[in-house]
């Protein structure tokens, strides 16, 4: 059995395997180090960082729901200064790619944060994921993420500031992601990642109160995987830049679904809360599954969805 080549290159950056951990589900690496060989991961997308530190929302911040969870963390983060002084240098100790996720409430703030990280970049900082899709703060970018023209303007502006990977993280909370995917491509993004959490809600029937302090929150976990796959598929048809698939992945077969539909890389999110080593376990399972199937390179699986000509002709 020949072993599958697990490397994937997007935007000129080579990832040792397609398994990344999603922003907000892995802290800044140090929290998970005792449980996980960080250098085994394809990459780490760090917790959203803003210009100033943010304390996050009042409790209650999480509620478990059927095969998933609602969260309303509210972008709790250390701020970009601590991020570049403490977190990036720590993450430079690991043999994996680091992607800095940025959250902001204005184009100026996004630029300021990116510029500060760029000026303090470490050797394994591969680039940026721009969070235009947090549903849990009043000023967290979702107003950007639901406007095609703002996403396009933001992407264009940030593109002019960096040659590193520029990834725009899209929200599923829009009627169609296709115009957003196309706008990111035309504005010069290297890739898009999707989906961020799905807006959701849970109510205590005895007190008639919302379970989350902020009333609504973001749904994640296995419950949203079918939504994520459909959005990745829609985006795949709408643009030709690489896609990073996110949403409910807990196994190697889940990863294969995303790759087949059109993602080049994936991010593991909520599953890290159950098992902080799941990224490595999935990577090892995936390697074995692909090798057994005789697939020479993981790249060979990307966007290989078979839709019959008949259904294509009918517009599917």
């Amino acid at each position: 059995m020949s072993m599958t080549d697990m490397r994937i290159t997007i935007g000129g950056v080579e990832f040792q395997n397609p398994i990344l951990v999603a922003s907000g589900t892995y802290g800044y690496g140090s929290e998970a180090e005792a449980y996980c060989d960080i250098s085994g991961l394809g990459g780490i997308v760090t917790k959203s960082v803003s210009w100033k530190p943010r304390p996050g929302n009042y409790p209650r911040r999480i509620v478990e729901t059927a095969s998933g969870m609602l969260n309303s963390i509210g972008l709790a983060n250390v701020g970009v200064h601590v991020f570049v002084e403490e977190k990036l240098p720590y993450l430079a100790n690991f043999n994996t790619k680091i992607i800095a996720n940025i959250a902001a409430s204005s184009i100026d703030e996004y630029c300021k944060v990116l510029e500060h990280i760029e000026a303090n970049a470490t050797k394994n900082l591969a680039g940026y994921e721009i969070n235009v899709s947090c549903p849990n703060v009043k000023d967290g970018g979702l107003s950007f993420g639901t406007s095609v023209s703002l996403v396009e303007e933001l992407t264009k502006t940030l593109r002019a500031q960096t040659k590193k990977l520029l990834i725009i993280k899209l929200t599923p909370n829009v009627t169609s992601v296709a115009p957003f995917a196309a706008a990111c491509e035309s504005a010069g993004a290297d890739a898009i990642s999707l989906i961020n959490t799905v807006l959701g809600m849970s109510v205590d029937i005895h007190t008639r109160r919302p379970r989350l302090s902020t009333v609504t929150g973001g749904l994640s976990g296995p419950a949203i995987k079918p939504i994520a796959l459909a959005k990745v598929y829609e985006a795949r048809k709408a643009c030709s830049i690489p896609i990073i698939g996110i949403g409910g992945i807990t196994s190697a077969s889940d990863v294969m679904e995303f790759l087949i539909v059109g993602a080049s890389l994936v991010q593991i999110g909520t599953a890290n809360f159950v098992n902080p080593n799941i990224g490595n376990e999935i990577n090892s399972d995936l390697h074995e599954m692909l090798s057994k199937k005789g697939i020479a390179s993981v790249q060979d699986l990307v966007a290989t969805l078979e839709v019959s000509d008949k259904m294509k002709a009918l517009g599917w």
């Binding site: 180090e33 449980y35 409790p59 911040r61 999480i62 478990e64 963390i73 890290n272 809360f273």
Partner: protein, 267 residues
Amino acid sequence: MQEKPRSKISLSKVLEKREVAPGLVILKFHNLFVATEAKPGQFVNVLPKVGFSDPLLRRPFSVYNTQGENVEIIIQDHGKGTGILATTQVGEYLDVLGPLGKPWNYDNDKYKTALLVIGGVGVASMPLLTRSLIQEEKTFAAYYGARNSSLFADEYLSEIKHSTDDGSQGFHGSVIDNLRKDLKARKYDQPKLFVCGPTGMMRAAIALANDFTIPCEVSLETEMACGIGICQGCPIENSPSEAEKSGKKFQLVCTHGPSFEREEIVL
């Protein structure tokens, strides 16, 4: 030296199951790491079902007792996840992550008498503390309150002062009233309260400690996803003085707690 990855996560075989009080199930399982590493007040995060399933997330439980290579947790069925765990049978396996969190702050000379203040299933964090206090030859007493005499799970406790709402055992009234009476009588030399129970009881204990100007540490129970500081899902608000000192509005119950000194937080 950092322990090897996943040494804190393991499948643990259930060896024994018993009911200590109505609705309170004890599961004893084999887990050498937790049995040897767990300190009083720490917890384990346990999956209702092995693998990624529904319910998806782990549930936190205080380490109730350790014996040799075995560990006990106490489960109160109050929902889907704990309901499934309460039906676990001997011979089945639990997916256990831990020990997690910081221990009770008992190992110091800032007090002379430890007063354990216990309500309901809050007893879960007290046996290991009791054992350590005995080992260190500290003076202590355990104020334990329940609705009635059948609800006490006091097999591993010592120096117990029972109180019941219905008067069926010990002091007739709340655990807080029983303790207040003895504090008023100046029964204890330089006491510190170690409190675990329902939130209302813990608030009352903090108010009592404020009245008598004595140290008071409360062990909190909150919704939690990861238990290791990644998800940021279990914040507790810092008191103004703590916020000023740390520059932070919140701390995480999983990694900074689960127990906090009364001055640190707003409960």
